[in-house]
Subunit: 286 residues, 2 copies
């Protein structure tokens, strides 16, 4: 696929191998994936995941799907040029592992010095070859149908202005998690809803890396506004998602010491738990 072709997400995560250095991939971070002044952490993980996919697809095993990805966020990524450096740790057999680093040029006075934005470790496989047994005991979130949920476009103009990426998502939030819109947060620390791309692009393993970090912070449901910068985000992709709506549930259970964990589950249209993630984030300042 060439830049400009395909869906908004495919353009957003597009990478091209650098001439003469096939372990480095060039990318461009579009302002349309902003949240606050930085680029959304899930989108960054999908860009890195796409570079790793390209690198690992050409190695023995052709492991094209992320199974587990852990991103450590070192500094805020800004819209503009970026590069992903990849390093193979182990390849072949049923899974391959690799490291990736997303870097951007320094500021106008310091373009020579690269800034590392995110560093990641990942293990890839071919999800189509995994055994077919499913004995999941987790239960999918019980949501009203999408048409009875609240489109994020209707939440708050201030909020949308701060989160450009939401315009690219068709995100329908469960009204039970939206008390904060009316000054009555539930205090449970839960946000859930239906998710698909606004342009109809169907989900795959890379989209799941975005889906786990695309909802409003669970802290809104605790009555705390402001952003929750991610320190670390690990995603387990457990199956290739079926086409259609995804159900996503975010929750926190341990808000303490100025930090919180945020767990996400993503369920596909067949009712399969296709991704689980946990992130450690900085609590908003009150």
């Amino acid at each position: 696929m060439t830049p400009g072709a395909g869906s908004e997400l495919d353009r957003g995560i597009f990478v091209s191998p650098r001439d003469g250095d096939p372990s480095t991939y060039d990318a461009h971070l579009d302002a349309g994936w902003r949240i606050g002044s930085g680029v959304n952490g899930g989108l960054l993980l999908a860009v890195m995941g796409n570079a790793l996919r390209a690198r690992l697809a050409s190695l023995p095993g052709a492991h094209v799907d992320p199974v587990t990805v852990s991103g450590y966020y070192l500094s805020a990524a800004r819209p503009g040029p970026a590069a992903v450096r990849t390093r193979i740790l182990r390849s072949g057999g049923s899974m391959s592992s690799a490291a990736a680093s997303l870097v951007q040029p320094g500021g106008p006075d310091d373009v020579e010095n690269e800034r590392e934005r995110v560093t990641a470790l990942a293990t890839y496989a071919d999800l189509a070859t995994l055994p077919v047994d499913v004995r999941t005991t987790a239960v999918a979130p019980d949501l009203p149908p999408p048409e009875r949920c609240v489109s994020v476009a209707d939440t708050s103009p201030d909020f949308l202005q701060e989160a450009a990426l939401l315009e690219r998502l068709d995100l329908r939030l469960d009204p039970a998690c939206l008390g904060w819109m009316h000054g009555r947060p539930s205090g449970r620390g839960v946000v859930s809803g239906w998710l698909r791309m606004a342009d109809g692009r169907e989900p795959d393993a890379l989209l799941l890396l975005l889906a786990v970090d695309a909802l409003p912070p669970v802290t809104f449901d605790l009555g705390l506004f402001g952003w929750t910068p991610t320190l670390e985000l690990t995603v387990h992709v457990r199956a290739a998602p079926a086409p259609g709506w995804l159900r996503v549930r975010h929750a926190t259970r341990n808000f303490a010491g100025g930090l919180l964990e945020e767990d996400a589950e993503v369920w596909d249209s067949t009712g399969r738990l296709v991704a689980q993630s946990r992130q450690l984030a900085l609590a908003p300042r009150e």
Copy 2:
């Protein structure tokens, strides 16, 4: 502390900076930390965590405590010499981040070639300086008192022989999770119990890296025996634990596709949730 001094755990995780290469730390993996034929993954993370502590303690901020550590397991570590290579990613401010790699010499015919066993990313801070707010909604596991739980020493001689590290732990398992000992696993996928070091060494942040991977696999409670090799393990250390017993609960909710996640929570004697972890592991072959 010098090797041979202190507790079994302090000897087990002892590292010394290599002459002329202060970013590399030498270690020795003792056979007493085996599980099956390899060395326990939590112990390996504690060895790496100790090397990172030594490296980061000397840098601005003196960030001596792991806040989040993600280990990717590349090959089984064997008892014997090992080294931890460290690389600073960001230091100073309220937290520092670093990478670490645990390597061992190759086999007898190939001692020149190092084998990478675990590669990790980590963010460190000084836990004593974090804000004191605690609004945890998670609930500690309801366990019978330690004297009414089952000492792991009484579970199964075969099991103990396979898991040398259990002799160094005083681990008292909740009888409700031990149906597998009598051929009646509960099917819930839960293992919980009380944990302290057999030699009385009090818990700290590094011990928590071991504690999240020290219980029998949750798959025993699903009626599946055999080991569950870890692919990836991320631990969030959320507070320095108080002295005394730890309560540990492991659970899985998504056993599918030949993989399972295993979540662990560790609560200290004051009732604080001090660590949360999740690992992705290979399901045992039936």
